[in-house]
């Protein structure tokens, strides 16, 4: 297991590096000079030049790249192009909002999605299965932002029981959860649709395995067959797909944060986009993708822990 952990972690490093490089390059070739953006349209040429050299923009691109990497290794994301403040502070303030939202989303999705998925698979081709499948396909068809808007319209505007915007104070648990309810519900429902569908197909794949037939043949109750033989084995592919959920989850959280104006990473990204604050944008992109790489790493390690065969591939 130790060898596998080391090997898998080492593989994550080049992936992260490539992701960083792609982000860096994309941000650099984006139109608009950062110094000009910061000084506005009426700045003199000399002032722009001065700021460019202060920001280190007239150095060779690969030195800038190495500098960015060096900063990132020390946890320094640089300074905002618009207000000059260190980006790390804003990141630290935003991350908890995104983290709690995505956590609620995935837990909600697992709690409701896994049982529904197992149930519809076991009762396949019955009315319950068709209803479940249609609902989960409906959930998959819902753009996250539209579900958010509908929930907001009903539960915050027409029947004003929940707040329309904001994230609530993180130190005040009650207020925070109150603000988290509708965004969490939005993301949770979308995740439920995904988890239900994937669980159903994982269980269906196992339903025809020999050991399930053996379990039934030796006279186990259906309940025991499902809980001990089916679910345990189905959990493997379900765990393996957590990486896929993570990508959907993070993408969804961006949309939910915009709809409900939650001060998380997605909001930070779009805010930076509007102000053409490329350094902040770069920092948020890197944070997002690091999350994905990290979640994939954890998933693979967990998988290796559960299923020893994976370690020797």
């Amino acid at each position: 297991m130790i060898a596998y952990t080391i090997r898998r972690t080492l593989i994550a490093i080049p992936t992260l590096l490539i992701v960083l490089t792609i982000t860096f390059v994309l941000i650099r070739i984006a139109p608009g000079d950062p110094a000009e953006v910061r000084l506005g349209d009426y700045a003199s040429k000399a002032a722009v030049e001065a700021l460019r050299s202060e920001m280190g923009l007239n150095r060779p691109i690969w030195i800038q790249y190495l500098d960015t990497l060096k900063g990132l290794l020390q946890g320094d994301f640089g300074r905002s192009m618009v207000n000059g403040r260190p980006i790390s502070n804003d990141l630290i303030r935003s991350i908890p909002y995104t983290l709690e939202l995505t956590l609620v989303g995935i837990i909600f999705g697992a709690v409701f999605g896994i049982p529904t998925g197992v149930y519809t698979a076991v009762k396949r081709n019955t009315l319950a299965d068709y209803i479940g499948r249609t609902l989960s396909l409906g959930g998959l068809s819902f753009p996250t932002f539209y579900l958010g808007i509908l929930l907001m319209l009903v539960f915050a505007i027409k029947i004003p029981i929940f707040p329309v915007v904001g994230g609530g104070d993180l130190r005040n648990l009650g207020e925070n959860l109150y603000h988290l309810f509708l965004p969490g519900l939005t993301l949770g429902l979308i995740m439920t649709a995904y988890v239900t569908r994937m669980t159903r197909s994982s269980v269906l794949n196992i339903l025809n395995e020999d050991y399930v037939r053996t379990a039934r043949a030796k006279g186990l109750t259906e309940r025991k067959v499902i809980y001990i033989h089916l679910l345990r084995n189905a959990l493997l592919p379900i765990t393996a797909l957590i990486g896929v959920y993570a990508i959907v989850l993070i993408g969804g959280s961006v949309m939910v944060e915009i709809v409900f104006s939650r001060p998380g990473l997605g909001k930070m990204m779009i805010g930076a986009l509007k102000q053409r604050d490329y350094t902040t944008l770069q920092a948020v992109m890197i944070t997002f993708t690091s999350f994905v790489v990290l979640i994939n790493l954890i998933t693979d390690l967990t998988y290796g822990l559960i299923d020893p065969r994976v370690r020797y591939k």
Binding site: T15, L26, P143, I247
Partner: protein
Amino acid sequence: MKQRSMRRKILRTFFRNRTSIIGACISVAMLLIAILAPWISPYDPLKQNVYYRLTPPERSHLLGTDEYGRDVLSRVFTGARISFLVGVISIALGMLIGTGMGMIGGYAGGRVETGLMRLLDIIMSFPDEVFGVMVMIVLGPGMENVIIAITILMIPRFARMGHAPTLAIKEVDYIASAKSIGASDFRIIMRHILPNIFGEVLVMGTLWLGTAIRLEASLSFLGVGVPPPTPTLGNIVRVGVDFLAVAPWVSVFAGLAILISIFGFNLLGDGLRDITDPKLYAR
């Protein structure tokens, strides 16, 4: 027991056909609306009328009007036209480039394959919305650029579709025979590998058309899509959100059009996939 399984079989077949039929009906209806939008729209989707600002749905404006007094129904029709156009073109391009890359990668093997698939895996490890925003920042706003962004997001999906079956097919005897009589690599890929996976790719294309429409809507909603005044389903919803408390019909109806379209393509694609996948009949 026998009768019961018989009934299940009938129910299953019926349902399977019915989902695809319902999906096909919805998709065709939405496509027709999109194509015929200029002729069936009751008003000019861009024409402003200050006397009719934010009017609720009524007989002259079935879905109400927006903050400039523009007819929401006409805007939704035209919006669907633009959104579908973006979706169909990006899927077609993604299919062409992606499947091609996947087949070439799988057929060539070695470093080409590893490099290509690794690059595509990395694109897929970004959340769609995040990568889409990144591409749009680089390209700037505009319909062509939205198409490019969505195409880039679709390429890895189709590449995977083309890649895995190619690996299996290239080991089959008839490929060796084709090679032995001197068929070129190009000919082998086009005549012997492509026909084997074409159906599957087309089915997934239908399914992913829903995804492409959702992505267009998401990018427009985030403000990096097709810029106003050109209506797309996503930017109608986006602008409507500012008036959600006083005029919810703008966002609600435009969003509903997105939902119905995606649901239609998902149903159709799902049904088609079930029908074309013989493995599922065993269940």
